[in-house]
Symmetry: C2
Subunit: 588 residues, 2 copies
């Protein structure tokens, strides 16, 4: 097993194989992918579909002098195997040496840490522009999936490549007829026409952007791909190589259910069934899905908008069908999603935009300008808004609080229980005064009861009335605050105050003022970085008083693939460390 | 004069005119535009070019039931005159009643406050989607200039309109062959082909996005435009109406120098010369231009990248020519600009991205992901990063500090003098370790000397070593700090400490610790909103100590068309108010 893979120590070794050997190599790479993915999970469909293309690429081009930039880079596993990182796939003890994305720390064949979509053409255009300025002549190649093309940055990149670059630039469009879910938008009709006509359709979108163009139907055939790459290698102008591949190619179960096999948990190869047992408890994602399905039936003005992330709301393909015209997936296009929501709210319906926290920053300007300046009643739901969600450096959910809570007019709510989450959703969708963002909790579902009315903005809720110390514990860190309050009562023998602030975007000045009467210390707990966040607003409020304030949260750091529990300890947020701090401050 | 304009009290009055009268009306509207613009300045070219189209639009459609969304909305003056707001143009005492953009507070015919580009299609798509959900049937019209089409959000909007909307949706593409400066990108070759072939070119970009299409060569002819709109009124699917107009039509001086006449200061109509006297002192924009021109000659690795905002660096058309391949304008495409810069830095050159603060938030994700995670040595220059710059709600420069200083790895520098600005530029372009953002000062040029090395991050500079009170005055508020320190010495009879922090993105913990020895109060001054900003980091740092901290800055508010001096007073940032605060805190 892995006979040929084992002979690859550097990318030059790929060039030594015969065509027959390359075909065998493709099979071995799929075995290696199975080995990693059945054990630790990861992106399935994108990698299985691109095995042949990436072999051909490294056979023809001279990486790292020739430079390949993978969009999202979730399809770069074969590339990794071919560029000296086979052990992360064939050696069960070394899986965790490699990230799931390109990573310059791993290899000189990777140029960027990438994890968000639609960036490859723009990044590669910079490599090309610098090459030209320096008078060099290497090939610059961007590899982008059809799903990523709907993102504005990719389209901006096509536009610039089509006129402003006058030299070698190769854009490989990997067309597997899918985003994570199905694709959405007019350009996909165009891609279909191009596929149906073998590239001869009228109104070719790439040519419309001023680009040269070539179509390859057999993107999963090594020989075809080698020929194609040899033809365009060292080309003296920008070209789009549009290739047709099968997502998940080589695993029937994945080919037949492409959406579910975009990314996978560890699984059993025979059955395709995941080997991870989640138990059958509900989580906040499934609560979101149930809420939406129920609400949409009752309120025909509810409009769900997602930028290609229905999974962030737990909406599977059947639910989407059932939602009908009350659901719109705009493709990977966060800017469009948010601005469209503002327009829809303006015209009287109740838009609910849902995606992952890490992606919503792609619509920062639209949230600020199109929604918040206009005070349109849009509800934005952010999932995975926690240190305890995705831990890849490109997918962190820990920056949402400083990013969004400092935008005027935006009411950012941080629920601490299921009831509070649902009540906040209900309230947000019932009012027409404020844009609202809700940070879906990242912790276990808690069933504490809560209030239903949030119309008096920035009113914190006093949950336990104590003395000396007030714990202000935001959103999904409220339970941590509860635990801490219990411990303090046990160990320090006084009853601290416990506050559930509920609002992340403002402070309850009245309550904070009152706390001064019988408290000497306020501590803040928030699920994100401290700088620019919630707690610092409170520190600033108390700045000229005698109240001491200590803010707890994460550092302003791009953490990467960490253990969530260890991270909390490292930043001193475990109960023990906090109690030690409190002792020092209160009893000095 | 204004005979027909005076007869317009509501949009229905436009429909009562004969064609001949409409032509006369067009002339009157241009006179009214001259009246406003010669007196108070504003957008010239976009409005003069669209007079006939907007007359025809209101002649044919039934606003506000039919809904028109203007991109940027800087071309909406004729629309305003036609929808009950003539007084802001013909009555010299009422100019300031109307903003320079659409504004729902002014009229039911305006749907959004808009000022950033490329949003109209997305916003209008939301209006259309809501209309469909509600079962209504009005026309929804987006009006977008060719220059705005390069922005990702506009392209995302075309993609969604081309497949996801199945009902009435009209996109008027106003093609005047210009952005503010010349247009850039492949799609402009396509627009030219379409113009040259009267809409018959192969590879029509709009059709490639799945849209129906119609071309009108005579966009400045009222009859032609009325016919065109009548043809597509109540159409049952999305269509692009591509019209060719002349930017600045009707004023020869403007037609011949379109870039300079995109926007104008008050001017003399005979000569076209501005009537505002700026004196001949240098400002930070001209300093930026001189620096770039000089540096580019000496360092062939310097690459200037701008998203259609050369004016933010003071680069006129001759300078751009002189920069040659060291300059690239990517069109209105901030995402592309920033990601391209990251790629260029990665491949060894020294990219300097320049635009206005208010627009840079359009690339928030790219700054975070493409630049900062990758630590590529990109220099980002932000102009108009001050409360004392553009005061329209859509163009405020007061949010930059909280927006960008909380992104890990980004070194945000706030120079307080010309020397410091230039030394920071030199340092940033000489190092390969950090992404750097420099906030171009918004105040008068100051010639205080400064250090040349900024490699020790987050080291504040103690400019005056005093006692009791430390004033930490950031960037272009440093001079305010100096003045304040002088006043305190005079009035309160002690010498305060004065600190020039230089770094906006981190704090000098060592110095802050030392201040505890002989200071009881720290005050922070920053040119932007307090929340999430610089001063709150300092308040948080001192939270558990006895040091008192007071943060000065603006409120988390979308201010609109304010007097900068009054605003400072309103938030208590005039010297008098601050001294009163200090007295209270220190001497209580």
């Amino acid at each position: 097993m892995y006979e040929l893979i084992r002979r690859i120590n550097g990318v030059d070794d790929v060039k030594k194989f015969s065509l027959e050997e390359l075909k065998v190599l493709a099979g071995e790479i799929r075995e290696a992918l199975f080995n990693r993915l059945t054990h630790i999970g990861g992106h399935f469909g994108p990698n299985f579909g691109m095995v042949e293309t990436e072999i051909a690429m490294h056979y023809v081009f001279n990486s790292p002098v020739d430079k390949i930039v993978f969009d999202v880079s979730h399809q770069s596993y074969p590339h990794k195997i071919l560029t000296g990182r086979k052990e992360g796939y064939i050696n069960d003890n070394r899986f965790y040496e490699d990230s799931g994305y390109t990573n310059p720390d791993e290899s000189e064949h990777d140029f960027f840490n990438i994890g968000h979509t639609s960036t490859s053409i723009s990044l590669a255009s910079g490599l090309a522009k610098a090459r030209d300025l320096k008078g060099d002549h290497e090939n610059i190649i961007a590899v982008i999936g059809d799903g990523s093309l709907s993102g504005g940055e990719a389209l901006e990149g096509l536009n610039v490549a089509g006129a402003e670059l006058k030299s070698n630039f190769i854009i490989v469009v990997n067309d597997n007829e899918m985003a994570i879910a199905e694709t959405h938008g007019g350009l996909y009709k165009n891609l279909k026409e191009l596929r149906d006509t073998k590239g001869k359709a009228d109104h070719n979108i790439f040519k419309a952007f001023g680009l040269d163009y070539m179509y390859i139907e057999q993107g999963n055939d090594i020989k075809t791909m080698i020929d194609a790459f040899q033809k365009i290698k060292d080309i003296d102008h920008p070209i789009v190589l549009h290739i047709h591949t099968v997502k998940g190619f080589g695993y029937k179960i994945a080919e037949e259910n492409k959406e579910n096999w975009h990314w996978t948990l560890p699984f059993d190869r025979e059955t395709g069934v995941t080997t991870v047992d989640f138990g059958d408890g509900e989580d906040y994602t499934s609560i979101t899905a149930s809420y939406i399905m129920d609400k949409a039936k009752k309120d025909k003005d509810l409009l769900i908008i997602t930028p290609a992330m229905p999974s962030a709301a737990g909406l599977d393909v059947n639910m989407r069908k059932e939602l009908g015209s009350q659901y719109i997936d705009v493709g990977i296009a966060e800017e469009q999603a948010v601005a469209m929501a503002s327009g829809a709210a303006k015209n009287g319906v109740k838009p609910l935009v849902v995606t992952c926290t890490t992606f919503m920053q792609r619509a920062y300007d639209q949230i600020s300008q199109d929604v918040c300046i206009n005070k349109t009643p849009v509800t934005i739901l952010l999932n995975y808004s926690s240190f305890d969600a995705m831990t890849d450096v490109t997918h962190l959910g820990i920056f949402g609080i400083p990013e969004f809570t400092n935008i005027p007019n935006l009411v950012v709510l941080a629920p601490s229980s299921k009831s509070e989450y649902i009540n906040m959703l209900d309230w947000s969708l019932s009012q027409r005064e404020h844009p609202v963002m809700i940070l879906i909790p990242g912790n276990e579902v808690n069933d504490r009861k809560s209030d239903t009315d949030y119309s008096k903005l920035n009113t914190f809720k006093m949950e336990r009335n104590g003395e000396r110390l007030a714990i202000i514990a935001l959103g999904d860190f409220y339970q941590m605050g509860e635990k801490l309050a219990d411990e303090i009562e046990n160990k320090l023998l006084f009853k601290p105050t416990l506050v559930n602030p509920r609002f992340a975007s403002g402070i309850d000045k009245e309550m904070l003022k009152e706390l001064k009467n019988n408290h000497e210390l306020v501590i803040t707990l928030e699920d994100g970085i401290i700088e620019g966040g919630f707690g610092q607003k409170i520190a600033s409020f108390y700045g000229t008083s005698n109240m001491k304030v200590k803010n707890y949260g994460l550092g302003k750091i791009f953490y990467d693939r960490y253990s969530p529990a260890d991270l909390l300890k490292k930043v001193g947020m475990d109960t023990e460390s906090i109690i030690a701090d409190i002792k020092k401050i209160i009893f000095y």
